[in-house]
């Protein structure tokens, strides 16, 4: 049995079938969790005694920021798997996840800026967290731009993998150096996330939102990956059947 052959051609079909079964459940969980979290966070959670109601923005900001960071780690892990074990599905995951991660970073930055206006009095403060987020956005742009610039898709995936690995080693260094820089220059005193002892009715909706965002990420990632698998494996007979079935079902002309 030749295992490289197994990895190269065996996995996509398996992935497509399994992911097709997961996708509805993930989507339902995402909608349910995010809807509950939003209503709870907006209407039922008590206001913060210092920031009033503007603190409700953290129910979006924190999950987006967490997701943005873990998504970059996912890029690096997928890159490593793709480089070392030559798993094609990892290449697909890497390139499908990068745009979602960039969007999440953008959400975190935007909500951070909007939160900053009532809290700090200006739209943008060079706060350590926000600055790291901005740099993370640039790192995402780099991966996306490199992937688009290389026409050969195997090379593009490998190049992005190397870049993501270099980036993920750099991220902690960037994070610490930016934090250090921030303390030296006495930045904003309010931190969007650091707050002492949150009561349960404050952090429970946050937990729901975090879980919801992760499910959402999983669902969108699977959607992107499934399409990419169909495109890449267009020659395989099962893909031809699947595409024909989808065309018929969707009534696409």
């Amino acid at each position: 049995m030749n295992w490289t052959w197994f990895h190269k051609w065996g996995s996509p079909k398996w992935f497509y079938q399994i992911s097709g079964r997961w996708l509805p459940w993930l989507s339902a969980a995402a909608v349910l969790l995010i809807a509950t979290g939003v209503v709870w966070g907006l209407a039922f959670a008590p206001p913060d005694y210092q920031q009033g109601n503007s603190f409700r923005i953290i129910y979006i900001h924190v999950p987006a920021a967490m997701l943005a960071q873990s998504c970059y780690v996912l890029l690096a892990v997928a890159g490593l798997v793709g480089l070392v074990w030559k798993m094609k599905i990892a290449d697909v995951a890497l390139q499908s996840a990068a745009p979602i991660g960039a969007w999440m970073t953008a959400i975190a930055l935007l909500t951070g800026a909007i939160w900053g206006k009532p809290t700090w009095g200006s739209w943008w403060v060079w706060d350590a967290r926000l600055t790291s987020m901005l740099i993370l956005l640039f790192l995402y742009f780099g991966v996306i731009a490199l992937g688009n610039a290389i026409s050969n898709r195997d090379s593009a995936a490998k190049a992005c993998a190397v870049l993501a690995l270099v980036g993920v080693v750099n991220i902690p260094i960037i994070k610490y150096s930016v934090e250090w820089w921030n303390t030296l220059h006495q930045g904003a005193t309010f931190k969007i996330t650091e707050r002492p002892a949150m009561p349960a009715e404050m952090w429970l909706p946050l937990l729901l939102m975090v879980l919801g965002f992760y499910c959402f990420f999983g669902a969108v990632l699977l959607m992107r990956m499934r399409l990419e698998v169909l495109k890449r494996e267009a020659r395989a007979s099962w893909v031809k059947e699947e595409v024909a079935k989808q065309i018929e079902q969707g009534g696409v002309r």
Partner: protein
């Protein structure tokens, strides 16, 4: 419920503008993220359908 009335809920204690824009933009971005793969899937299937028709005519 931490608000007495619906108008208070909308006002968010003078921070309504910020809270609602943050939530609005974020939910729009989330919706965009769902729409993009769906649209490109649809476009791909259309292309494939056209290609299959072209090939069957030959």
């Amino acid at each position: 419920m931490s608000f007495a009335s619906f108008s208070e809920f909308l006002a968010m204690g003078h921070h309504g503008l910020y809270v609602w824009t943050a939530y609005g933009i974020s939910l729009a971005v989330l919706a965009l993220n769902v729409a993009l793969p769906l649209l490109s899937r649809r476009r791909y299937l259309q292309e494939e359908a056209r290609r299959l028709r072209r090939e069957s005519q030959k």
